[in-house]
């Protein structure tokens, strides 16, 4: 378990906590559930109106996405990121629908903090129970007898997230096995993906984004179509419709007056005077540019080849120089709890602190 960033600064930080009213929690919960329904509508619109090119989704994966969307294979979790000051409605900043993390902190760690430090308070958090219930439900839909989980090497956070989800699955009665992404084997004779024991992989939870799995850079991407009948991926490939920040522009186009949305465009800033320019596909705040009246803030990175989205800038709340972003978790498509990450800067990165919350 890591609680410290690479630079020695704390990641898990209980020197402070965020305290909500019931009204504020309900506002976050309502926004989460409403936005999920809107994302379902947007996903259907992408398919019905053939908007894949607008999202820069490669044509070669469109049939896989469309079939998966119709088939509704198992799907576990996702996370909206909100800016919320307790007064204006929560504003959607991003939707992490493929490989969200900071899950263990939100589901378990902050719950134990609450019981130890603030036992008379409550917390918007039923993530753990809902995860186990969802795995239990999915057990009968599995292609094989073992759930495999995979993540990249050298990422403690990702391996920990997999370990936690494996634990939830085990509590639901599912046998699990972990392997690194580069240890996944392709058995050319049996025409299937296999683990290090040469056992077939029929159900794979992957903490590795779809845009990478399907990239021509990945030698095994050519086999994904071949295993379609015999293998299930969590999250399923149709999440490529959502894990794409061009979705923000489509949502705003479809629901221009919705209180939880910010104006967003996939062309130049349009009428925005202050805006955030983000790569359509990126992670951990890389390659983000914030343009404000008083100047510009940029982060470095290797993303942006697929294009950008421009979203209206909304200032994050300021609590003693710290700026929180609320991560609102959905388990099985339902709002299940929140986790808060804060930083002294305006862009949430990999080493922003996780701070617990409560409500009374």
């Amino acid at each position: 378990m890591f609680n410290t960033n690479a630079d020695g600064s704390p990641y898990w930080d209980e020197s402070a906590d965020y305290q909500f009213t019931t009204r504020e929690i309900l506002a976050i919960e309502q926004a989460t559930n409403d936005l999920y329904d809107m994302c379902l509508a947007a996903g259907q619109a992408i398919i019905d109106r053939d908007l894949f090119d607008r999202l820069r989704i490669p044509r070669r994966v469109v049939p896989l996405i469309t079939r998966a969307w119709e088939a509704e294979p198992p799907s576990i979790y996702a996370r909206f990121d909100f800016a919320y000051d307790g007064t204006r409605p929560p504003k959607l900043l991003e939707f992490n629908a493929d490989t969200p993390t900071s899950l263990l902190e939100a589901a378990v760690i902050q719950w134990y903090w609450l019981k130890d430090v603030q036992p008379d308070a409550d917390q918007f958090n039923s993530i753990h129970e809902r995860l186990i219930a969802k795995w239990r439900e999915l057990k009968s839909y599995m292609k094989g007898r073992v759930l495999h989980l995979t993540a990249v090497r050298d990422s403690v956070e990702d391996e920990m997230t997999c370990a936690y989800l494996a634990d939830c699955a085990e509590q639901a009665g599912i046998a699990t096995r972990f392997l690194y992404v580069d240890d996944i084997g392709w058995n050319a004779e049996r025409r299937q993906f296999v683990d290090l024991e040469e056992q077939p992989i029929g159900d794979l939870f992957k903490l590795y984004p779809w845009e990478w799995l399907t990239s021509p850079t990945e030698e095994f991407s050519q086999h994904i179509l071949e295993v379609e009948p015999s293998m299930q991926w969590v999250e399923p490939i149709w999440r490529m419709l959502w894990s794409n920040k061009a979705l923000l522009a489509l949502l705003y186009e479809m629901f221009p007056n919705h209180p939880n949305l910010l104006p967003a465009y996939t062309t130049e800033p349009n009428l925005l005077r202050q805006y955030v320019k983000k790569p359509i596909l990126s992670r951990e705040g890389a390659n983000v540019t914030i343009v404000k009246d008083d100047g510009e803030v940029r982060t470095a990175g290797t993303y942006g080849a697929e294009g950008f989205v421009w979203q209206e800038y909304v200032p994050l709340p300021d609590f003693g120089g710290q700026h929180p972003v609320i991560g609102s978790w959905l388990i099985d498509g339902v709002a299940a709890g929140i986790g808060i990450r804060e930083s002294s800067g305006l862009i949430t990165g990999n080493e922003s602190r996780f701070v617990p919350h409560l409500f009374r």
């Binding site: 956070e157 240890d183 290090l196």
Partner: protein, 79 residues
């Protein structure tokens, strides 16, 4: 058929690529034919270092076909 080291432990196929059947590459790696199905790192058994006449053997498993993109985007940590 599997690629094994000098102790009979299964390794990735890459070191054995291009090695004639039965040959011993540099004293380290050679092909093993048939036997029990086992994974990388396990010791082979039930087969032979020489192919049986009339039996067709194929390369089994390759690895490393996923993961390359993560190395390109070195700022990986998920979202």
């Amino acid at each position: 058929m599997r690629c094994v080291d000098k102790d009979g432990r299964i390794v990735d196929d890459a070191p054995c690529q291009g090695t004639p059947s039965g040959a011993y590459l540099g004293g380290h790696y050679r092909w093993y034919y048939g036997g029990q199905v086992a994974g990388t790192g396990k010791t082979v058994s039930g087969g032979s270092y020489a192919p049986q006449a009339g039996t067709r053997y194929t390369l089994s498993t390759t690895r490393g076909g996923f993961g390359r993109s993560a190395g390109i985007h070195s700022s990986f940590g998920s979202a």
